[in-house]
């Protein structure tokens, strides 16, 4: 290993729970799928850029393919027209997966209480963390990511996290 630990431990064996080891890996290398639709998407870009630097939290590997990602960040307003697309992409993500609803629009429709805007993405898909703000500051995004990291510590590697969710597009 070259870290010098072998000198300390010798031939001894370190034991841990598989859950613990896997969760440790998962929580500090979340791969976000940025579902950016609007203003929040621009702020997510700020969070990823040099100054705020999302890689400090191990989440800089932004994937635009849902199959390669485990953290969906819904950044922006979701209209009724967009809703089936969002659901399709969520369904394509492999377990385990987490969802952050970023900003007022994704969380509740925001100040778009009208004929075209979905009043919160939790009508379609389950959400783990909501971020307030319109748009939220990059620091708030990191706060949510840290919360997800904490949640991921106590998950099981054999059971699906959410099994009983039923949204308006589930038939």
């Amino acid at each position: 290993m070259g870290l010098g630990v072998e000198a300390v431990f010798g031939d001894s064996v370190v034991t841990t729970k598989l859950d613990k080891a896997v969760n440790w890996g998962r929580s500090y290398s979340l791969w976000p799928m940025a579902f950016g639709t609007a203003c929040c998407g621009i702020e997510f870009m700020s969070a990823a850029a040099a100054k705020h630097d999302i890689s400090r939290f191990g989440a800089e590997v932004v994937r635009f393919s849902p199959r390669q990602a485990d953290l969906m960040i819904v950044a922006g307003t979701i209209s009724y027209k967009q809703a089936p697309v969002l659901k399709k992409i969520y369904d394509q993500m492999c377990e385990p997966k987490w969802v952050i609803s970023m900003g007022a629009c994704a969380s509740s429709g925001g100040f778009y209480d009208n004929y075209t805007t979905l009043q919160g993405i939790d009508e379609i898909i389950p959400v783990d963390e909501y971020i307030s703000g319109c748009p939220p500051r990059p620091e708030a995004i990191f706060d949510a990511i840290i919360k997800i990291q904490e949640k991921a510590q106590s998950d099981s590697i054999v059971k699906d996290r959410i099994t009983d969710f039923k949204g308006i597009l589930d038939v």
Binding site: A38, E43, A50, S79, V85, N114, Y115, T116, T117
Partner: protein, 544 residues
């Protein structure tokens, strides 16, 4: 009272527009929209009126033409054969108001989804009545006729590969769906579908008072929110016929130009990411973040600033603003130098962008494309020069034009426009006058808090403004400014109350996007991607 410049009979409309186009050079169709007079207190005999807004070849004159439609015949001849931009303009009017355009090549919904029933901007449509969409449409109903018109037979079409680029695709920088027909990697046909970020801006406007609409305008082009604030506030102020203070004008110029810089930074940075140049993204986003810190200090928000008010501004500049601003400008200059040193003489970059995604002058004018996308083709239309407002005519700056209208020209135009914006900002800071930032009119500007708590007049004034809003005299008016993407217009109908009867935004990138399928035809997919990025389509703006 502001009225439409011309009111014609529906049967004369097409002939009138044709005459204006051929004889007086009105060859830029800016917008098409309608008004539903169902809830208007004057109760005109005809419920629907159509409005066409045109601009002439000198770009200095605009004209609004209005026609009332008979209640039993909500249809009119299309003018999409005269102007390319009428195609989507009329589609939107059909979608939102249910007015049919006879002879339109593809009259279907554009903003609302295909399962939507009714027309939301009609006054009898309840604003909160949402309609669930269960699946995305296939778009083959548009693709097959398009390909057939290009001479593809049924057997040929079986050989063609169809591909969806978007609506959730990193290259779309938002929510555009391009459905393309491919031969190899060459696009033979493209159908663009939008509406995935339609958030009901216009309907929301009809339910809020004028100052409450300013936050909604932030979210049109969210990369340069303040330019939208200015565009809307200026249109309303022009309707009120008030002249804001010189200090307010100068601050609007300074902050507006800084917004233009952040907008162009985002566009160019993202464009070069699509080309694989991630380093440029880091270089260009760093000063942008600094500019956001400045906005945050000044307005309280990084992105959605809501900085203007009808009649002035929310806050005056803070102490130390000048130093902060200069700091940002220096960083922008440095970042541009860094980024350009990577690409300006880079053979790969040049081969990748030159003669790619060409917009011809003819298509640009016919398609209603404005802003940097138009200027890159070599046409020097910039509202700051042709229709100067806020003392733009006294600043020394150049209109940046390109020569080929390709991706390279658009990127370089944006870089150079940032240089010009910096020039304007520095001049404006030197001449910045003192004095108040708001007009001295109690019917428009909120009173000081000490008056609200200290005397009954102040309290009443505050109460009236909160409850009724700023009352705008009855009339209809089209006002436009040069936003980051081009001519941003607001067509406002007021019935004399504090809430607009109708607001129509003329979003520059809506019309640019309408022309996009034509631009990318017979180009490669990879070129279509950078063409899309170079035209700076902002979903909040074209979908509203």
């Amino acid at each position: 009272m502001f009225k439409a410049d011309m009111v014609v009979k529906p049967e004369d409309l097409k002939a009138t527009i044709l005459k204006l186009k051929n004889e007086e050079g009105y060859n830029l169709l800016l917008d098409v929209t309608a008004t539903d007079y169902l809830a208007h207190h004057e109760k005109p005999e005809n419920r629907f009126a159509l409005i066409y807004i045109l601009r002439d070849k000198t770009f200095q004159k605009s004209i609004t033409i209005k026609t009332f439609l008979p209640n039993d015949k909500l249809e009119i001849d299309t003018i999409s054969d005269l102007y390319y931009s009428a195609n989507w303009g009329e589609r939107e009017t059909y979608d939102q108001y249910g007015i049919k355009f006879i002879g339109h090549p593809n009259l279907k919904r554009v903003l609302n989804h295909h399962q939507f029933v009714g027309h939301p901007l009609r006054k009898d449509y309840i604003i909160t009545q949402g309609q669930i969409c269960t699946e995305t449409e296939s778009l083959m109903d548009e693709m097959t006729p398009l390909m057939t018109s290009k001479g593809y037979s049924k057997e040929d079409l079986e050989e063609v590969m169809y591909l969806n680029i978007g609506p959730s695709h990193p290259a779309s920088h938002g929510t555009i769906r391009n459905f393309v027909a491919l031969e190899g990697e060459t696009i033979r046909g493209c159908v663009t579908e939008i509406g995935y970020l339609h958030r009901g801006f216009e309907k929301s406007c009809e339910n809020h008072n004028y100052n409450q609409i300013i936050p909604y305008t932030d979210r049109l082009n969210y990369c340069s929110a303040i330019l939208n604030n200015i565009g809307f506030s200026k249109a309303v102020e022009d309707m009120l016929q008030i002249d804001i203070t010189d200090r307010a004008k100068f601050i609007r110029v300074i902050i507006g130009e800084l917004s233009r810089i952040t907008d162009h930074l985002v566009c160019n940075a993202a464009n070069m990411v699509d080309m694989g140049g991630l380093t440029n993204f880091w270089y260009l986003f760093a000063p942008r973040d600094k500019a956001y810190d400045l906005f945050s200090k000044l307005t309280g928000a990084r992105l959605t600033n809501t900085y203007t008010r009808i009649g002035g501004l929310e806050f005056d500049l803070y102490d130390g603003f000048a130093e902060d601003l200069e700091d940002v400008l220096k960083d922008v200059e440095q970042a541009m130098e860094d980024a350009l040193s990577l690409v300006a003489h880079n053979k790969i970059f040049q081969d990748r962008t030159q003669d790619v995604g060409i917009i011809t002058k003819e298509l640009a004018i016919s398609g209603g494309i404005t802003g940097p996308n138009l200027r890159a083709t070599g046409i020097d239309y910039d509202m700051r020069k042709s229709n100067p407002y806020y003392y733009y005519d006294t600043f020394d700056f150049d209109v940046v034009v390109g020569s080929h209208g390709d991706v390279y020209d658009r990127i370089m135009c944006r870089f150079e426009e940032m240089v010009q914006s910096i020039r304007i900002i520095r001049q404006a800071m030197k001449q910045l006058p003192g004095g108040p930032i708001n007009v001295d009119m109690p019917s428009i500007i909120m009173p000081d808090k000490k008056d609200v708590y200290g005397n009954i007049e102040g309290l009443m004034n505050q109460f009236k403004l909160v409850m009724d809003g700023v009352k705008v005299p009855q009339g209809e008016f089209y006002g436009a400014t040069e936003a980051a993407n081009g001519e941003l217009g607001f067509y406002i109908v007021s019935d004399g109350s504090g809430t607009p009867y109708k607001v129509k935004c003329r979003p520059p990138s809506y019309y640019a996007l309408a022309a996009y399928p034509k631009i990318v035809e017979n180009t490669m997919i990879a070129d279509a991607v950078i063409t899309m990025a170079s035209m700076n389509f902002i979903a909040g703006e074209f979908d509203r």
